[in-house]
């Protein structure tokens, strides 16, 4: 996996997983060079997990095109993705919430592209057996999560930030005691002051490379020459000025519960209670300007029996009536505990209403149609189950069994929907595919073994015209190696079928019909 960013100088690598890194892919490398390094490697037996996938996943939006559809033998195993800074920040926020196990106050650094988590460890370290063992625990936690983190503990945020970047190593966390603060800071480079690139550049031009040198400048001249930022950051680093930590807080779950003394008599009562609870939830969400994306309903009986239903929505919804209807569709068919006395509803996923997904089909925006259709998809998924409401997709794979894919509407996201490739330049394909292919007996003629007669469903079909063979062959790294000759045939009744001759086993199969 390689993430790339399109800047002023064309697409460049932002970061990559380990395998491409071993091939020499480094951050900042132009995309074309990275593709050369990580892309066109012919599979080696020790190549890792990338080679095992039946169809190599491909980047769509990067101008990366898949190889010929006949046989994916030469297709590179590396997956290129555009860099998504917003997703980075969101992931860092989640890490911040997770890090609350070490300290109660955790925040993300205040920067355009934050890379740092800030933990206020005051009064926490003794719980971990001292400062050194605290930083080691934190470092070990991230290492076990598969993340490479540099950890530093210092008396000020500025000093910890600089020490984490320039002193600490992934396996060697650093603790800076108060008495060493001044000496550490004066040796750190000027960039450790968290200044803009332009300011750091100016300092460099002035010959000021370390914080110590900047500190020695007369304070009165600093703001007018270098801006107020330098002074503020300098004071913050040495602890002469306060710095505020913006703490990440998980938003409280949106919940509504009902508990009755008498157990519920029937389903209609349960639906009525759900209606009340839904209106409470929608009311709470309205204040935030959000809609429900997933609703979990739990019912508990007196004897401790429990049941749970989940309603997933294609687009966030704020309409109570629609939510109640979706719940009712599930409740109607579910087995209820006999004596429900406790019902709770939780909106376990919510999304801002204003921030609608691009559009359901990735074409021109059509909000009315999408609202109606979203409601329909919600209803269908609620009653039939999410695995029955699907979005078909054509996959550029030569083997027909893998050439079509489906994914549940509830799980496919808007971005994937819009970039889904429809352009498959394969041969003529039937509308009906039999899975698995049905074995048939075929009589062939001529040196090319063209089918002339076959038997299917107790009926003999005489072939009057045929097109083929179309040879389909897959590579040796697939589980089952496939080598087939496909024929499109017209039989005497005018019906069209799709047959193939399996060249490895010398059997004939009917694989589809041109309905």
């Amino acid at each position: 996996m390689v993430f790339t960013n399109t800047g002023g100088r064309g697409a460049r690598v932002v970061t990559s997983s380990r395998w491409p890194e071993e091939q020499g892919v480094r951050p900042g490398l132009p995309l074309a060079e990275a593709q050369l390094l990580a892309g066109d490697h012919s599979p080696s037996p020790l190549g890792g997990e990338n080679f095992q996938s039946p169809s190599p996943p491909w980047g769509e939006g990067l101008g990366v095109r898949s190889g010929p559809s006949v046989c994916p033998q030469s297709t590179p195993p590396t997956h290129f993705e555009p860099h998504d800074p917003a997703a980075d920040v969101a992931a860092l926020r989640r890490l911040a919430l997770e890090s609350q196990q070490f300290a109660p106050l955790v925040g993300v650094e205040d920067a355009d592209a934050p890379q740092c988590l800030l933990l206020d460890a005051s009064g926490c370290t003794h719980l971990f057996g001292g400062e050194q063992s605290f930083v080691e625990t934190v470092a070990r936690h991230f290492r076990e999560r598969g993340l490479s983190a540099r950890v530093a503990l210092a008396p000020t945020i500025g000093a910890a930030w600089g020490a984490a970047r320039w002193v600490a190593r992934p396996r060697a966390p650093v603790v800076v005691p108060l008495e060493h603060l001044a000496s550490l800071l004066s040796h750190l480079p000027a960039a450790a002051l968290r200044l803009s690139e332009a300011t750091v550049e100016t300092l460099r031009e002035l010959g000021l490379h370390s914080i110590g040198q900047v500190k020695q400048l007369p304070r009165s001249g600093l703001p007018s020459r270098l801006g107020h930022d330098v002074m503020r950051r300098l004071d913050q680093a040495f602890g002469d000025a306060p710095e505020v930590l913006t703490v990440e807080r998980a938003s409280p779950p949106i919940e509504a519960t009902w508990a009755g003394e008498e157990p519920l008599a029937d389903r209609a009562m349960l639906v009525a209670i759900c209606r009340q609870l839904v209106s409470q939830i929608v009311g709470q969400l309205a204040a935030r300007g959000e809609g429900v994306q997933r609703l979990v309903c739990r019912a508990a009986g007196a004897a401790g029996r429990r049941a749970e239903w989940v309603v997933n929505l294609v687009i966030p919804c704020e309409a109570a009536a629609h939510l109640v209807e979706l719940l009712r569709l599930q409740l109607e068919r579910a087995a209820l505990p006999d004596d429900v006395s406790h019902v709770s509803l939780t909106a376990s996923a919510t999304a801002p209403l204003g921030l609608r997904q691009r559009d359901l089909f990735g074409d021109e925006v059509n909000p009315d149609r999408d609202r109606e259709l979203g409601a329909l998809l919600n209803r269908l998924s609620s009653r039939l189950g999410p695995r029955a409401v699907l979005r078909p997709r054509v996959v550029p794979d030569a083997q027909p069994e893998f050439a079509a894919a489906v994914e549940p509407w509830l799980e496919s996201d808007a971005a994937a929907r819009s970039t889904a490739a429809d352009g498959f330049a394969g041969g003529t394909r039937p509308l009906r595919l039999l899975t698995p292919p049905e074995a048939i007996s075929v009589r062939v003629a001529g040196p090319e073994a063209v089918p002339v007669r076959f038997c299917w469903q107790r009926r003999e079909h005489r072939v009057v015209r045929s097109w083929g063979p179309e040879r389909i062959e897959t590579g040796w790294w697939r589980d089952a190696h496939v080598r087939r000759d496909y024929f499109r045939v017209e039989v005497h009744s005018g019906h069209w079928f799709w047959l193939f001759h399996c060249l490895t086993e010398h059997d004939w199969f009917l694989h589809g019909a041109f309905d």
Partner: protein
């Protein structure tokens, strides 16, 4: 005392009024109706209007009725109409739709496990204003179920395309258009030929037969000449 001609005219007008598809959806008429590219004038002049059920009767897999149905839907799908496909047998092959020029991303595929779920979802989809076309294969359908589907299509302003076996020809039908499709051996090198018989078109004397051919190379349907001369345009179901 009205003359005989006047009486006939009044009765004809009333009959036309009764037979006209009643669109209850209040949904604006589509700029294009459901029709086959290349077959202008045959069956309908302006295309089949919204809110109609169309039955495609054909014998067995491979007869090509779905190919004809997808070709009729193709332009609508390309104009952004959503196609809901009920695929109870789980045999729909998306590359096949792609071959015919229908973008698979416009398709919502439903694969319910139970038959009554299938009928329920058909009705829901037909009733939805966000849907353009609903396509399905149904064999058994009671008159009551059929009527429900037809009303749902009228309310939703959707086209309902029902692919059914030819054996259902004698069964009662609420479809606005019924077509019988018989594949024909084609003498040409490429191309595929069918005999199309109109069993019913609401609001018109039906019973017309045509022979049409689809050519991969030109990507269009055309009437085959020897039978085409006998056909007349029926302006019935147009909105």
């Amino acid at each position: 005392m009205a003359s005989r001609e006047q009486l006939i005219e009044t009765l004809t007008a009333r009959l036309r009024e009764i037979e006209r598809p009643r669109l209850r959806s209040g949904r604006g008429g589509s700029p294009i109706g459901l029709r086959w590219p290349g077959l202008a004038g045959w069956l309908t002049s302006r295309g089949i209007a919204r809110g109609c059920l169309i039955e495609w009767l054909a014998e067995g897999p491979g007869a090509g009725s779905a190919t004809l149905a997808w070709l009729a839907v193709r332009d609508l799908a390309r104009h952004g109409e959503v196609v809901v496909l009920l695929d109870s047998q789980k045999q729909f092959f998306a590359p096949g739709a792609n071959t015919l020029g229908v973008p698979p991303r416009q398709v919502v595929l439903l694969q319910p496990e139970r038959r009554d779920d299938g009928l329920w979802s058909l009705e829901q989809a037909l009733r939805c204003h966000g849907v353009g076309v609903v396509m399905c294969e149904v064999e058994k359908l009671s008159a009551k179920q059929f009527r429900r589907l037809q009303l749902a299509a009228e309310v939703g302003g959707t086209w309902g395309l029902m692919l059914r076996p030819a054996s259902t020809r004698r069964q009662p039908s609420w479809a606005d258009v019924r077509l019988l499709i018989e594949p024909q051996p084609s003498p040409a090198v490429s191309g595929r030929r069918w005999r199309l018989e109109i069993l019913r078109v609401r609001g018109a004397a039906a019973e017309d037969v045509a022979c049409v051919e689809f050519d991969d190379a030109t990507d269009g349907l055309r009437l085959v000449s020897e039978l085409a001369a006998a056909t007349t345009a029926i302006r019935a179901v147009g909105a």
